[in-house]
Amino acid sequence: MSIENKEFKPKIVAFCCNWCSYAGADLAGSSRLAYPADVKIIRVPCSCRVNPMFVLRAFEKGADGVILCGCHPGDCHYTTGNYYTRRRMSLLFSMLDFIGVENGRTRVEWVSAAEGVKFSTTMNDFAKKIHSLGENVRLGDIRCKN
């Protein structure tokens, strides 16, 4: 078991809004603030572009963790997008918790373009959490595990 844990390389999908969090990730990069390579970023115009279907699809295809990053509430480039995100994801995450998916596989964080440090610490922290939860076995499609 311990050997398996050592080899566990989680797949983490990070949806980042173009205006704040993607730029925050860029800043983390240019500031050389490391975070695990398990995290792969998908650029979306706004966190409100992220459909719950995307989150579930990531799990279906074998992701172990999904994180959404957007502008801080009040700072959305499109004024209100992240407020919708906040409600949608609150419900989705609550539902995942309800059906017994481990709390912590999903997260929403607000990261501004200036918060390279926050981006990096957030990703480090999230990756650590996913490591501690181990492989996602409750939401994946078995056909994708090989």
Binding site: R86, R87, S90, L91, S94, G100, N103, L139, D141
Partner: protein, 319 residues
Amino acid sequence: MQELINKSKELLASGSINRVLGWKAGDLSYNPEPAFFTSEEELADFIYDDFCAANLSKFMIEAAKKEGKTLVFLKPCDTYSFNQLLKEHRVDREKAYIVGVGCSGKLSTTKIKEQGVKGITKITTNGDTLEIATLYGDKSLNRSDVLLERCHVCKGKEHRIYDELIGESKETSDRDKFKEVEMLEKMSPEEKFAFFQQELSKCIRCNACRNVCPACSCRKCVFDSDKFDSAQKLNANSFEEKMFHIIRAFHVAGRCTDCGECSRVCPEGIPLHLFNRKFIKDIDELYGEFRAGEDAETVGPLTSFTFDDAEPQEAVERG
């Protein structure tokens, strides 16, 4: 019932309506079907009894496409669905003549059979008891033991939209609608997972829950289209049924009137209302009480927000 038939005849005769949407007597004692009536003769088969559980609001989508006005009989809970459909421009108020009908709760055939009743030949309601004649002898059941789940958590017997009201109602609500959800919430993740795994593994993806649902009124469901590469007709494994039911619940979140049709029609008896009710509970707790379909105007909780809404992590961890 006769009053309903008389009203239908009267309005059909006057030409103010083109058809009646109601229930037609079945060939067994418990299987009336939703039906359109266009003439006095057809109305001979009209029935309104304990088994007329079907929510006719959904059929009003089709009725809106037909020529002229449709008289529709709506139970109190059905009117919520009608309002919600009206809000979403899926039904036409001008083409509907709504007669609110009284309701004393509807019965579940499944529950009757669960009481060990086999070979039913006749069911008679006698106040609070059901007299059931069967091929294997007569039985008598408590009406409240075989009420549909939704009737135990009835929203109340007030019609939210109507042109006129006919008939008396009797309060049936005697349970806390969130009790089941709360019980599940208290379980450990493993227990919750095991519960839903067992329930959802029964799903045969027949789409009855979706197709009966007045909120699932999409012309083409995402699960039937290639828009998300999500078209599926099968539960190849346990993930897909979860995906289907979670997304379905999410799509109707803030729009679901908790009419309970999904659970009523599920051939495998999956308590599908739990998904919707979980969302209703979350919405009530996080964003203030909201009852979809109370009116046709209020903006829904997922298309609105406040500046100080809870963060998703808080929402999950609120316990």
